[in-house]
């Protein structure tokens, strides 16, 4: 028996090593990746500097399309930030066992996506150097921001979400940080010791931790729903035909979850390949995420159908005009969006073989996110181009500055994520091990079945 136990110890040590393989010293490939991503981000920073010094004339923004790629990016990245909340929060609450390897990756994605999103309001405003006017700090000028404006609701909600999701990530990481602390030496050990806050894993700590995790998951889900509803109300509160629709809040929230879950799937494929996690991110995980994606795709398609149905049936001249304009001028993009989000994705995800194939899931998840970006474009730009007064109709196309900053946002996000994976456990180590150790094979009747263990 001692040899068995010794073996078990060694197995656990190996498993820890494997799941923490991202924290190894950087390889040449990693440095190359970081440099490339850094270069793209640097180019985007240069593009932003050009915009700050010359003015928004270098962007494609014009009258009447006063909001363009920056707001599209903003909405897109806020949507992506719903990945962690959906996967981690909801799956924790529903106690879905297959959530275990994915939690950390999803929660980290949330924090970094919302951080990237928070940059875009600064990038898109005309006088970024006066952005502090938006913050309610008492000042000698007797000035105060306007809480009746949806942009201030945005500020509040995104602030709440950044702090909330960072704390959520930290909470999830606490036991894993203890594992990393125990196997590191020198200055790294000191840093991880501070971060792990003296976690020892006593039964008291675990009991409180479990309760806190449940409460946090229950709190973060309504916050996520409110954040994207508030972002959607930036549009729905206006009188712009095509924007002033009551369905915007549920529609955007479902779109965000759609985009987020697809992004988690993409991330799962990448992490699995990069850190050799084939044993932990198995086909059954992709199968289940595929089912989740299918359900959300159905919800999104239903809400979109409801919106277009209302516009078509009511046939209010201005709203119908906007819709026909969109279908006419952007027919390719509209078709791509509907195909990619609904007509290809839904039938494909109904098949088990598709869901279990890692390559196909990668393709579908990237397709979904490309189509969701297109959807944001089609929501924001055509209604602004084609408004109440025909004399002021106009078109929009992004300039090099906007495209650079879009690329820079993606590169910056990837860079932050790569840095994070280098210093922090990217697989939710403790959850995975808990899942493995709390299983036993029981002989019942004629066969041996898997049983999950729960405490008294």
């Amino acid at each position: 028996m001692p040899e068995e136990e010794g073996l078990k110890q060694k197995n656990i040590q190996e498993m820890n090593e494997k799941m923490l393989s991202s924290i190894r010293p950087p390889t040449g490939k990693w440095v190359f990746l970081a440099v490339v991503l850094g270069a793209i981000t640097g180019w985007a920073a240069y593009a932003w500097w050009v915009q700050l010094s010359t003015g928004l004339v270098v962007a494609g923004i014009n009258r009447p399309v006063m909001w363009g790629f920056y707001i599209i990016n903003f909405v897109f990245w806020v949507g992506l930030s719903h990945s962690g909340t959906m996967v981690s929060g909801i799956l924790r609450l529903s106690k879905a066992n297959w959530r275990r390897p994915i939690l950390r990756a999803a929660e980290a994605m949330t924090v970094f996506a919302i951080s990237v999103a928070a940059m875009f309001p600064l990038i898109h405003i005309g006088r970024t150097w006066k952005a502090y006017y938006l913050i309610p700090l008492p000042n000698s000028m007797g000035l105060w921001p306007n809480f009746r404006s949806p942009l201030l609701w945005d500020l509040t909600a995104i602030n709440t979400y950044i702090l909330g999701s960072s704390l959520f990530l930290f909470l999830g990481m606490l036991p894993d940080l203890a594992v990393v602390r125990d196997r590191s030496v020198g200055i790294k050990k000191k840093i991880y010791t501070v971060l792990a806050m003296g976690w020892r894993g006593t039964d008291r700590e675990w009991s409180l931790y479990g309760k806190a995790s449940t409460i946090m998951a229950a709190l973060i889900v309504p916050v996520a729903v409110s954040v994207h509803s508030i972002v959607s109300w930036d549009f729905a509160m206006t009188l712009v035909p095509g924007w002033h629709s009551t369905i915007f809040a549920p529609y955007f929230v479902s779109g965000a979850m759609f985009s987020g879950v697809a992004a988690v799937i993409t991330l799962m494929v990448i992490l699995r390949k990069a850190f050799h996690l084939e044993h932990h991110l198995r086909e059954e995980h992709f199968d289940n995420m595929g089912k989740l994606l299918l359900v959300i795709s159905l919800v999104w398609s239903y809400l979109y159908f409801a919106e277009v149905l209302t516009i078509w049936y009511g046939h209010k001249p201005i709203e119908w005009e906007v819709f026909i304009f969109t279908a006419d001028r952007y027919s390719f993009l509209l078709g791509l969006m509907v195909l990619g989000n609904a007509f290809i994705t839904i039938p494909a995800l109904c098949f088990r073989r598709v869901r279990r194939s890692v390559t196909v899931m990668l393709f579908i998840s990237i397709l979904v996110n490309v189509c969701m970006f297109t959807e944001r474009f089609l929501i924001i730009v055509p209604p602004l181009s084609h408004r109440n007064v025909p004399f002021m109709w106009g078109n929009y196309s992004p300039s090099w500055v906007e495209l650079s900053i879009t690329a820079g946002a993606l590169a910056g996000f990837a860079l932050m994520y790569t840095m994070f994976a280098k210093f922090f456990p990217i697989v939710s180590l403790t959850d995975v091990r808990e899942g493995l150790e709390m299983k036993k094979k029981l002989k019942i009747g004629r066969s041996t079945v898997n049983a999950r263990i729960e405490g008294e």
Binding site: G55, L56, W144, N146, D234, T238, V240, L384, M392
Partner: protein, 237 residues
């Protein structure tokens, strides 16, 4: 929705029967309010900065083509949709019914421009330039705006303020013909009439009760203050 206790409620009537589309009002506005010149190329990109524009639509088929034109400026709405959406209170309702724009408070989110149904709000996409000696023509009563700031027609609030101050000094209310925005002052056929709607005897009030009256996009419920009078055989009247 301000419960106005002011003696003044500024309003404007534009008589389309008299308007010839000469665009003198556009030039006057630009001169009076230090509106930067954007240039042909930038205007084609959609960055035009005219506070007051003459909208021109073509009606009919050749050779029976008619031009329909209408000067459009900030409608100074009573329920302005551009005001609640500004996050920094750069756009607000003055007690006299004007839609105030505070240039040095604006951070340039452009939300107000999106929410204006007539798209009358303009944005400074680049730093305005007045190469010498054009800077000598700048009106010292009006701020010069920097890039990144929204601006729009203010009913020449600098002239309104000057008129009110003069009247206050003399211990009376502003007389009917005393204050005229640049566009009203310049209009050759006298199509633009400006005045105090709270004064039931004023010219603008009497004109506003014409049976030819209409307002642009009235059904949106924003209560625009600019009243147009149909005419010129262009509205079928």
């Amino acid at each position: 929705m301000s419960k106005s206790k002011s003696n003044y409620k500024w309003g404007m009537v534009i008589d389309l029967d008299r308007c010839t589309g000469c665009s003198a009002c556009v030039v006057a506005c630009q001169a009076e309010n230090n509106v930067p010149v954007v240039g042909e190329e930038r205007s084609a990109e959609g960055r035009m900065l005219h506070w007051l524009r003459i909208e021109r639509y073509w009606d009919g088929e050749y050779p029976h083509v008619r031009a329909r034109f209408i000067p459009v400026l900030c409608q100074q709405c009573d329920n302005a949709p551009c005001e609640p959406v500004c996050p920094v209170y750069a756009s607000y309702q003055t007690p006299e019914g004007l839609n105030g724009q505070v240039y040095n408070r604006c951070v340039g989110t452009r939300y107000c421009a999106n929410n204006c149904p007539w798209s009358v709000r303009v944005f400074n996409f680049h730093e305005p330039e007045w190469p010498k000696p054009l800077n000598d023509q700048l009106n010292p009563d009006v701020t010069v705006r920097s890039k990144g700031v929204m601006e729009k027609c203010t009913f020449c609030i600098q002239r309104i303020n000057r008129g009110k101050m003069k009247a206050k000094e003399e211990g009376r209310l502003v007389r009917d013909d005393e204050i005229q925005p640049a566009c009203a002052q310049t209009c050759p056929p006298g199509a633009i009439i400006f005045g105090n709607m709270a004064d039931k005897g004023s010219f603008v009030f009497r004109l506003s009760r014409s049976s030819r009256r209409f307002r642009l996009l009235e059904d949106l419920g924003t209560e625009p203050v600019v009243i147009y009078l149909k005419g010129g055989g262009r509205e079928g009247a």
